[in-house]
């Protein structure tokens, strides 16, 4: 995921890891992320609740040849670029065929056309376009539009901007130049209760990868298909003192 507005990419990753019951295979130990620890965020029972988790872990599902990296904290100042370099170097050396980045962008930065269309966007690096362009075309997805590099200046050039996307743009640019097969999937969101946004983003990803059974025509069925991890409890704080009322 990218650590981005609403933490939507990270929430979506939690849903994927939890639903597919992916096993932890290692740690991405780095000095670029703020340290954090806690017990197993995907615990389902007393027995599996006491495995320690740290801020960057790698999970896998060998049957689907899927590997997931989950990031749980923000970057230390000036360390986001070094992190991107380390991540992409690991991706290249580990022989990953394709990388998908789940991200989000500020919804208030949309232009008029974007306000009226679907909130989901995709981006593909040149090297992945060859292999997936046809599939993406068949899904009728909307590619991320270019916008003014400097919004305040009328005659500024047009380029890809992902405001609120954290390292998404850096990862995308670096992958283009390093010829890494990368796709970015993002949603325009605002900060708040971003669980519905995360569910939306995993469904969007699922249209392509079909990691779980495709959605039927009933949209209300979507929430029950994805397993909410136990660590999502009390997302907005502890209980309230009864004396308040």
């Amino acid at each position: 995921p990218a650590v981005s507005v609403g933490n939507v990419g990270q929430l979506a990753m939690d849903l994927i890891i939890s639903t597919l019951n992916m096993s932890k295979i290692g740690y991405f130990y780095t000095d670029c992320l703020v340290p954090m620890v806690g017990n197993n965020p995907y615990a389902t029972a007393e027995g599996n609740s006491t495995e320690l988790s740290i801020n960057a872990e790698v999970y896998s599902l060998p049957s689907r040849k899927l590997v997931a990296l989950q990031l749980r904290s923000i970057f230390i100042k000036y360390k986001s670029k070094p992190f991107c370099e380390k991540l992409l170097s690991w991706v290249k050396s580990s022989g990953c065929a394709r990388v998908i980045v789940l991200s989000s962008s500020h919804s208030y930065q949309r232009n008029d056309l974007q306000l009226r269309s679907t909130p989901f966007r995709y981006l593909l690096t040149p090297s992945i376009q060859r292999s997936v362009q046809n599939k993406i075309k068949s899904l009728n997805w909307q590619e991320m539009e270019k916008s003014r590099c400097i919004p305040e200046i009328d005659d500024s050039e047009f380029c890809i901007r992902i405001p609120g996307g954290g390292i998404t743009k850096t990862l995308y640019d670096e992958s283009c130049s390093k010829e890494i097969q990368m796709a970015v999937l993002l949603k325009f969101v605002s900060e708040g209760d971003n669980i519905p946004d995360a569910l939306g983003l995993v469904e969007y990803l699922n249209e392509w990868l079909q990691i779980i059974k495709p959605l039927s025509d009933d949209p209300t069925a979507s929430t029950s298909r994805w397993k909410i991890p136990s660590s999502w409890r009390l997302l907005f704080g502890s209980g309230l003192p009864p004396a308040l009322f």
Partner: protein, 288 residues
Amino acid sequence: MAATFFGEVVKAPCRAGTEDEEEEEEGRRETPEDREVRQQLARKREVRLLRRQTKTSLEVSLLEKYPCSKFIIAIGNNAVAFLSSFVMNSGVWEEVGCAKLWNEWCRTADTTHLSSTEAFCGFYHLKSNPSVFLCQCSCYVAEDQQYQWLEKVFGSCPRKNMQITILTCRHVTDYKTLESTGSLPSPFLKALKTQNFKDPACCPLLEQPNIVHDLPAAVLSYCQVWKIPAILYLCYTDVMKLDLITVEAFKPILSTRSLKGLVKNIPQSTEILKKLMTTNEIQSNIYT
């Protein structure tokens, strides 16, 4: 952006941390002078481990230089007071070195001329068994300094045959639970342990969705990744300054293997602790 009740549009804080676009732009606009200032600040914020006698920097990390079988780390003033009264007064401990660091919240002082309210980070070993180490860290180690601290203390070749125990405090409002935190019987103890720590904890484990960050999290992460047996004892309290009841909440740890053989006279230690409290009490009124 978000609209407030008063009709103004303000930039809403983003949970994703700093706006990376700003950081990127800063990088592009950075002049050689800016870079020099940034590098100077980075040098000022460097964590240095100094030898006690000579005050020179250690060439290698602390645990690469000295053999270690047990390492007890107290982070924060209440944890430090607990180890001071119960452990350090039960044996003869020799200072091996200290960490000097600077950040916006603290500037560490020399351990030789120390008033009990000053921030410091000292390392000691037991004279009768020099492989038993203790760290008293009452200063705040900032985000960008935590990994440096780890590197200077643990180094890059982690040993597996040592056991780490970390003691620290957090404010009870950080604890997430279904009931209101006001109704919790604070102070109370919770524990987190690495996969390789096989002994039982003397209190319940910290349940999700609770997490720990800062230096205790940095140490525990390191131990989990490098398969070192380690346990963190976390005291949730509603009094973050030096407080007798909070310090006494750590007492159950005295019966664990982590502190076995290191504590001699508990009643005497309790007396020492009480004395420590009174010397630190500042008569507070609205003028101080």
